[in-house]
């Protein structure tokens, strides 16, 4: 299990995964001020939502290389021959993917918060939300990757499959920024994230097994 996590993490680092995600995330976050205009009060108001949207879009980037390349290079065949549980493999992939993209994204959110003129209080809420939400996002990325692996032109399909499923994370993540009613939203965010983390490996495993046939 640890060997699997280390392998995936190394692959993500060596392919520049985190750097790309962070750069893309910051780019999307910078586009909003350009499009909306330098109204500091308005930016501070929508900034939290912008960060969540940017995080969601950035989470799409690494999806294609989570499962597809391993399927092609026969790595999953080798796992299967060794009688390894595909569910555990999917869990390992989820953990490695989160380690590779969750913490860097949380760091980048600090910079984005500066760009968007967010208050320290809002930034704290964003960070807590991301800490709770990104594991769910990582699980969703692995399951999407397993579902679209082997589909030709999977790049476009990836977004269409993953983004609608990530909407609850976005709603409750952005909802948790509300100082008045944020506490309820953050519990719901945690619930959605937990469901994704607990359920996704089983679906991903089934998808991988189907792809092996």
């Amino acid at each position: 299990m640890i060997a699997l996590i280390r392998r995936d993490l190394r692959r993500s680092v060596s392919s520049g995964g985190a750097t790309l995600v962070v750069a893309f995330f910051l780019l999307v976050a910078t586009l909003f001020p350009f499009a909306i205009g330098p109204d500091a009060a308005l930016l501070a108001k929508i900034g939290g939502g912008v960060i969540w949207t940017a995080a969601l879009l950035a989470a799409l980037l690494p999806v294609e290389r989570l499962v597809g390349p391993d399927l092609e290079s026969g790595v999953f065949d080798q796992f299967a021959v060794r009688g390894m549980s595909m569910t555990l493999v999917a869990v390992a992939k989820t953990i490695a993917h989160w380690l590779g993209f969750g913490p860097p994204l949380m760091l980048a959110a600090v910079i984005a918060a500066g760009l968007l003129n967010l208050s320290g209080d809002t930034l704290l809420r964003v960070e807590i939300g991301l800490l709770i939400g990104t594991p769910g996002l990582a699980a969703l990325a692995v399951v999407t990757s397993a579902l679209v692996a082997g589909v030709r032109g999977s790049g476009a399909v990836t977004g269409l499959v993953m983004l609608p499923l990530a909407v609850p994370l976005l709603i409750f993540g952005a909802g948790s920024l509300d100082p008045a009613g944020g506490a309820g939203a953050i519990k719901l965010l945690a619930a959605v994230s937990l469901v994704l983390v607990a359920g996704a490996p089983f679906i991903a495993a089934a998808a991988i097994r189907a792809a092996l046939d």
């Binding site: 060997a3 065949d77 299967a80 390894m84």
Partner: protein
């Protein structure tokens, strides 16, 4: 339907060569034996660990040959992984390439690396799909010697090939 009425039974030291024209289902037979494909009818019983060699090398292309082999040796939890890797690398004359990233290897070298991955396991059952593809004559001889050594230590080899391989005493399964 690819093939029907295929039945065989291999014990320690046995080998079988699967032959037949392209597309007849040699690779599918290997995948069924490996448990990756479910047969439409019938069953596969295998009482020991299996090592599989297919077209795909399953070696990480951005790592060095030895590091890529080490990943699988670690997963297999066989005793003395380093010793096994060294022996397998030597048996396939890959010592000079040990620290070269897998992506720089040629087709034949990659095939030899995959064979080394199989040789480094302690799985008694070897399932080899076209192991001689892309190999030069010297490497084919090494492969034959490796399979012979594996069998003499009680191993089993099921080999699908369209190239002639000399495996003394192997039974032929013609599809």
């Amino acid at each position: 339907m690819l093939f029907s009425n295929v039945s065989f039974d291999l014990g320690p030291g046995d080998a079988a060569i699967v032959t037949g024209p392209n597309g007849i289902g040699k690779s599918s037979l290997i995948r069924i034996a490996a448990g990756l494909l479910a047969p439409f009818e019938g069953a596969v019983t295998c009482k020991a660990d299996k090592a599989l060699l297919t077209e795909a090398s399953a070696l990480d292309i951005d790592r060095t040959l030895v590091a890529a082999l080490r990943f699988w040796a670690t997963l297999d939890r066989a005793p003395d992984p380093e010793e096994r890797i060294t022996r397998a690398v030597k048996a396939l004359d890959l010592e000079a390439l040990a620290d070269i990233p897998v992506r720089l290897l040629s087709t034949g070298q990659r095939r030899r690396a995959s064979i080394a991955r199989v040789a480094a396991t302690d799985a008694p059952v070897w399932l080899l799909d076209e192991p001689a593809n892309g190999l030069d004559l010297a490497s084919v001889t090494r492969l034959e010697a490796l399979i012979a050594r594996h069998r003499s230590s009680g191993g089993i080899a099921l080999v699908a090939t369209h190239l002639p391989l000399s495996l003394p005493g192997a039974r032929e399964i013609a599809l």
